[in-house]
């Protein structure tokens, strides 16, 4: 994307959860570096972005994205999905290792880093497979993969059933201070299920996944976290009981962080009425009480981050009866708009919502990102939070699997700058 050497963002409301700053200020970027944030800056020759009435935020950080490359075919590429991310203010995203081939070799890490760099839309932070082929039997080369650029390990939602393998995975990761990312779900308790085990699934006759499928696996992970001292980031918790487990673990001082998908904050099991396969996701949408408990947990800091859990799927993936459809929502473009919707509804303050998308996920990932720091390459976005949009009108992800395509949502991203490069600029 062509650009002048200097960029002056004028009169935006600058919010940085890291420092607590919230003021109308100018922001000056010179040769990609964030050099000043102050009132009434002057920069001759700089390109001017008028941000009056808009928010200037740290570049957003998404802790869970499925990029579909390598191996995704028609359901998207690194270029298509990172461009969608840039259009939504996201500068850094964590890529899950369940690609084809799996991210368990340095060659795959290198391929992902090269392609994302070449595409130039977002900084991709790859996760390494925790076990080879994600099979839960033998450790992957975690230390080597960390050196190659992976920021953590994950089994991408696939359970490691063998407690010995799980314990050793945690011990080995702890040795090299590699954070473990984990979406807890017991294999046997979730086998064949596609909906929350509750009144809606019982009525629709959909095979259920009970909440205990999550809490049993989460409890096991927390016990092993305590025993091994590994840094554990729990991904996409879905039920009230899990928030209690996380709250308790944090109170006991365990090195634990947690995220939730934006969809679990807005939708519950009732969204499945009429066999709506756009709302078929894993973990399943649970009860209203669970959703309310998750909202409390994001507000009070029990949950540190909200992610898109972006899974772009080809159209045929949802063209089947509900239980045979693939689980997932292409969520990267609606992450910020849906958070702004929660703010509009009064469920979250604007400051908390922004922290959950920037400083919070940065802390979960152990990365120095998600803040506006003078002297570093700039990562930020400029957002018109009042503008209403219908996502389908300018959808970019290759996956159109979203229940929000035709909804009217707040938030239009005017500018995204990722590590000094302009990655998105709209009119």
């Amino acid at each position: 994307m062509s650009q002048k050497a200097h960029l002056l963002i004028r009169k935006g409301r600058v919010i940085d959860p890291n420092t607590g700053r919230d003021e109308v200020l100018d922001v000056l970027i010179e040769n990609g570096r964030l050099v000043r944030i102050a009132a009434s800056l002057d920069a001759p020759g700089a390109e001017i972005i008028n941000a009056e009435g808009m928010l200037v935020l740290p570049g957003l950080v998404d802790t869970c994205v499925h990029l579909s490359e390598p191996g995704g075919g028609r359901s998207g590429s690194i270029a298509s999905e990172t461009r969608a991310a840039a259009s939504a203010g996201i500068t850094h995203l964590c890529a899950q290792p369940n690609t084809d081939p799996v991210i368990d070799s340095t060659a795959v890490v290198r391929l992902i880093r090269e392609r994302s760099f070449k595409a130039g839309f977002a900084k991709v932070l790859p996760l390494a497979a925790m076990t080879q082929q994600l099979e839960g039997r033998q450790l992957a080369e975690m230390a080597t993969l960390k050196e190659a650029g992976c920021i953590g390990v994950s089994n991408a939602g696939r359970p490691v059933q063998d407690a010995l393998v799980l314990k050793r995975s945690f011990e080995y990761a702890a040795t090299f201070d590699i954070p473990v990312m984990m979406r807890p779900q017991d294999a046997a308790l979730s086998a064949g299920g596609c909906a929350h085990e509750g009144p809606v699934a019982s009525r629709l006759g959909l095979p259920g996944i009970p909440a205990v499928a999550e809490t049993i696996e989460l409890s096991r992970a927390l016990i092993l976290c305590e025993a091994t001292g590994v840094r554990l980031h729990v991904q996409q918790i879905s039920c009230s009981a899990s928030t209690a487990l996380i709250r308790d673990a944090k109170a006991r001082g365990l090195p634990v962080t947690a995220d939730v998908s934006i969809h679990h904050l807005l939708l519950d099991e009732s969204a499945l009425e009429g066999f709506n396969s756009d709302c078929h996701i894993q973990p399943p949408l649970r009860s209203r009480e669970d959703r309310e408990a998750l909202l409390v947990a994001v507000a009070d800091g029990t949950i540190d981050a909200v992610c898109s859990q972006h899974i772009p799927l080809g159209s045929s993936s949802k063209q089947a009866p509900f239980p045979s459809t693939r689980a997932g929502i292409a969520g990267i473009e609606t992450l910020l708009p849906l958070m702004l919707k929660l703010v509009d509804q009064g469920a979250l303050t604007l400051h908390r919502a922004i922290a959950l998308l920037s400083s919070g996920p940065a802390r979960c990932l152990g990365q120095q990102i998600g803040h506006l720091e003078i002297g570093r390459n700039a990562s930020l976005c400029v957002v018109d939070a009042a503008a209403m949009r219908t996502p389908i009108d300018d959808w970019l992800s290759a996956g159109k699997n979203s229940p929000w395509l035709d909804a009217e949502l707040p938030g239009n991203v005017r500018l995204t700058v990722c590590e000094g490069r302009v990655t998105w600029l709209s009119d």
Binding site: G198, G205, S270, G274, N276, K318, P321, P323, P403
Partner: protein
């Protein structure tokens, strides 16, 4: 909160007539009564020497069975033929790969043959809804059983049977026994009985065979057979599949029969004139003893006879609902 709520009832035309029959849930009581009344007039057709009426003459009915079935498919076929329709039977073993595309391609092909009605059985809950949402509007879809979700024509023939023997629904207590978890028949029966005004619907079984929060469907839950059968007017035993013994749901057929199987002695708490029903095919000595299945209270074989008439009623209503929409 729900982004795109699917239309509340895709089964009905704008003026409230039946155009698909996918589920009993959400249908108004007069419509269920219309099905039962219609069936009553078709029962008489079965007694004639020439068992045909011309209501579906020139129409093509496709039996689209993704799951094996002999009885249900045969009764639908007979019902369609007695209505003078042309019938095409397609048995599709559900392939494990790319079902979605295969299913869509197949539907478009069948539509191209100018079919007027699909009778669908599928192992996935919701499959007939998916098909009804994707076929051209002129094709009626009838659910012949989808996963654990619904089997509405079976439920309606059971309602016909109950009305035939009891004359009413008001004041009736009905007990459904056994594997409710996996039963599409039970779910449809529960909806139908509640819509038609039965006094109480009970489900009886061990907790492993009862769906979570099943009370929300409007039933009382019993785990003890004697307590659940007390003073009931109608007893419905559900089929227990043999494979349930392999998945830690039950220890053995023997223990299930000892605790929940029907024999004359265990039926004693029910009302003296209680009838015994079963959607078939029955497992003698598992959920029901022969002395009950073949005994005076059993109406199991009559259910089959009524099944043809009920399906004739549903098919003719759907075709006329479709035509009224043109």
């Amino acid at each position: 909160m729900i982004p795109s709520p699917p239309s509340a009832n895709i089964q009905l035309t704008a003026d409230g007539r039946l155009k698909h029959f996918l589920s009993v849930e959400g249908l108004p009581r007069p419509l269920l009564e219309e099905i039962l009344d219609g069936a009553a007039s078709f029962v008489e057709v079965g007694d004639r020497s020439i068992k045909k009426v011309p209501l579906l003459r020139g129409k093509t009915v496709v039996n689209l069975f993704f799951e094996a079935s002999t009885r249900t498919r045969s009764t639908f076929e007979l019902a369609a033929k007695r209505l003078s329709a042309d019938v095409l039977n397609i048995d599709i073993a559900k392939s494990a790969t790319s079902k979605g595309e295969t299913l869509m391609d197949m539907l478009w092909n069948l539509e191209a043959m100018a079919s007027d009605m699909f009778i669908v059985r599928h192992s996935d809950s919701g499959a007939p809804f998916f098909i009804a949402n994707h076929v051209t509007p002129q094709v009626a879809v009838i659910n012949a059983g989808d996963g654990r979700h619904a089997h509405p024509t079976q439920a309606m023939l059971d309602m016909y049977t109950i009305r035939h023997y009891k004359g009413r629904f008001a004041g009736l207590k009905v007990a459904i026994i056994g594997d409710v978890l996996h039963s599409r028949v039970a779910r449809s029966q529960i909806h139908a009985l509640n819509i038609l005004g039965a006094e109480e619907v009970r489900v009886i079984g061990p907790k492993t065979l009862l769906p979570k929060d099943i009370e929300s469907l409007g039933v009382s839950v019993y785990t003890d057979l004697a307590a659940g059968l007390r003073d009931v007017d109608v007893v419905i035993a559900l089929r227990l599949q043999k494979e349930r013994m392999d998945s830690a749901l039950l220890p053995s057929e023997g223990e299930f029969f000892r605790l929940y199987g029907l024999n004359n002695d265990r039926l004693r708490p029910a009302k003296p004139d209680a009838i015994v029903m079963h959607p078939g095919p029955i497992n003698r000595g598992v959920e029901i003893a022969s002395e009950v299945a073949d005994g005076p209270r059993s109406v199991i074989l009559h259910q089959v006879t009524f099944g043809i008439a009920v399906r004739m009623a549903v098919m003719s209503m759907c075709i006329s609902g479709q035509e009224s929409g043109l």
